[in-house]
Each structure stands twice: as C-alpha cells, then as structure tokens.
Symmetry: C2
Subunit: 216 residues, 2 copies
Amino acid sequence: MTDLTLVTYDWVPEPPRGHVRDIRVRWALEEAGLPYRVQSVPFHDRGAEHFAHQPFGQVPWLVDGDLSIFESGAILLYLAERSDALMPADPRGRSQVLEWTFAALNSFEMASVPWTILQFSGDTEMTPSRKQLEDFLKMRVQQMETVLAGREWLAGPFSVADILMSDVLRIVERLGGVTDEHPAARAYIARATDRPAFKKAHADQMAHFAAADRAA
Amino acid sequence: MTDLTLVTYDWVPEPPRGHVRDIRVRWALEEAGLPYRVQSVPFHDRGAEHFAHQPFGQVPWLVDGDLSIFESGAILLYLAERSDALMPADPRGRSQVLEWTFAALNSFEMASVPWTILQFSGDTEMTPSRKQLEDFLKMRVQQMETVLAGREWLAGPFSVADILMSDVLRIVERLGGVTDEHPAARAYIARATDRPAFKKAHADQMAHFAAADRAA
C-alpha cells in the first residue's frame, strides 16, 4: 500500500468544520502511522467525476493505487486490515471491531443524524414524529452510557470502532444530547479526543478549510 | 465454522413480518449454502442475557461456536469472509462489497428509517424537518436509480451488499417511496427478491412467526 490519497472538499461552511467525515479517515491514518496526501474536489459544482467516485456526491473517498473506495466506515475497515493499531488480528477481536463499527453507524448515527436535522430545522412544534425521533436518540445515548460504563474501548484495545463511535457521540454532545447524566459517555469522548492522532486530524482538517478561506 | 445459530425474536406483531432483520442473515446463509439453526428469544421481556448479546435490545445475532456477533451488516461481512457466493475474493471486488455494504446502511437506510418513522407517526402537518427528511430520502432514491440504471448488481457479481441494499429498498417501495419513476430500482428489487435464497429466507421468517401465533 503506497501513495494513499484522501479526497475531501476544497471548502465547507464554518458550522461543519471539525466534523466533515474526512476526519475519520485522517484519524485512522494518523493512528496507523500511514503516510498520505490530501486532494481537494469542489464543494460547489460537484460533477460527474465526483459522482463516479462517490455516488451520493459526498466526501471522503480514498485512493490507493488504482483502487478508489468511498464510505468512511468502509475506508476504516479497509485500512484496519493493514494495521494492528486499528483492529486486533485475532478472530474475536476482529468480529468485535466489525460489530461495533456497524453499531456506531447503523444503530447510533442512524438515530443521531435525523435528530441533528431536527436541531437545525427551525421547527418549534413538538409533533409526534419529532418526539419519536428525539426518543430514539435518547434511548441510544442511554444504551451507550450503559455499555461505556463497563469498558475503556469498545472492542478491547482502541480500534476503528472507537474512531466512529466517539466521532458520532461528540457531535451529539456538542448539540446538547450527551450531558452530565451520561458521565461514561462524556469520559469516553474526552478519552478519544485526547489522543494525539485525533488532535492532529482535527487540526489538519481545520487548517485545510482555513487555507481555502485565505485563497478565496 | 460449524454449528451456526441465528438468534431472533420468538414473535413479532404482523406489520414488520417479512422485514425483521434476521431475514438478511437467513438470506446470506441460504445463498452460501451454510447450514444453521434458528433460536428464539422473547420479544417481550428482553433481559440482561439479551442485552449481553445485543446491547440495543434488538435482533438478530449470530452464534458461531464460542463467538457471538450482532449487527446484521457485521454478520453479513463476517459470513462473506467464508463464502465466494457472498463476496468476491479479489481486492477490488472486496473493496466494492465493503463500500456498498456501508452505503446500503449508512447512506440509504439512514434516510429511509426516519422516513419510515414519519410514515407511521400519524403526523399530518408538513413541518420543515419533515420536509427535510422526505427530501433526504427522495434524493437517495434518485441517486440509487442512477446507479442501478447502469448495473445488474452493485459490486460485480451478486454479494451481501445486494442483500442489504435490496432489503432496504423493498420496504421503501412497499411504503410508496420507490415508484414507476424509478424503473431501474424496481427491476433491481424484483431481481433480488426473485432469487431462491430470498424466497426461502422470507418464507422461513413468515413461518417462524406464524408458528408462534399457533403456539400462543
């Protein structure tokens, strides 16, 4: 594996900075110590070339030689096959990373993304569906609080599953959905974001978009 | 790999029958020709034992000897490592299955599940957030229509990615979100659900819950 290229937007508005999903890939690459470069594609005017790499018109994707792969969850498992720092090698450790990787995205983020949309919608009325979506997230946060009260990381040692779970939890914390009632979840987010690889990834993403501001 | 056991509820109400997520695992096991047995856990009164296997109190999980794994996406990739009928062996084929597996769950189902909640909520008012969630799904259906217009299956030969994508698409079709305006998506769903392994999995799930009715 040589010549890894992470592709992300050339620019995004202020609010999502620090949360654009390329941070998950940057973080994993930093944890694994794998060298990579970053390439930009236009945030505005996403063309056929963009959709050929990412059929939903989003970022990131990763280019590894003649192979191009999208979906941050898929990219992280792809990289995890190449580094013990991202996934243990034994069958039990591997299956635990696999289940918690999907849990982060399909059980937790599936509840947090619609809730985030509600938060930014400007809706003031508590409709039945809004109540259901809020209760869905609250239940998931409480379930993760229970899980995290009993362990340092999700699958034994730190793994890509923790990159994903802590990344989806920290946006919910920022928007007020993880509170002092969830001390284990808060401690877990703090533990994850205190890692040097996260700090580097976060600073690099902020610098990437700040550079675009200066160039404009 | 011997003695595979798929764990699902002993009973569910009528509406979700045919769509309980154990069908994804049944389908994969049938495609691969792997023998398995089905074990039931109570739908009501989910206890500590249930949460020890599935921390969100859901189903399915799969037991393989002394290993227990949850999340249908994780189970399907776990099984895919064991059968060429579920994932090609070459690096490009593997990475395509990986990205489309996550796309089915984290790009498509993330839009369809909140929309499904809206459909069943009884809400009559079109609030801004409801409009956003509906538009989110419509965009994803159109993006998948474009993708599916150009290919028979998502990652070359039929794979676990198709099990997941067709399973999330068919519930949206059933609820009116995939229509005659999406001929490629409709043909894809028809192609997938016409496979003998799907038919067997579907019939077995229906029979499993019907047997619980008779026992009650």
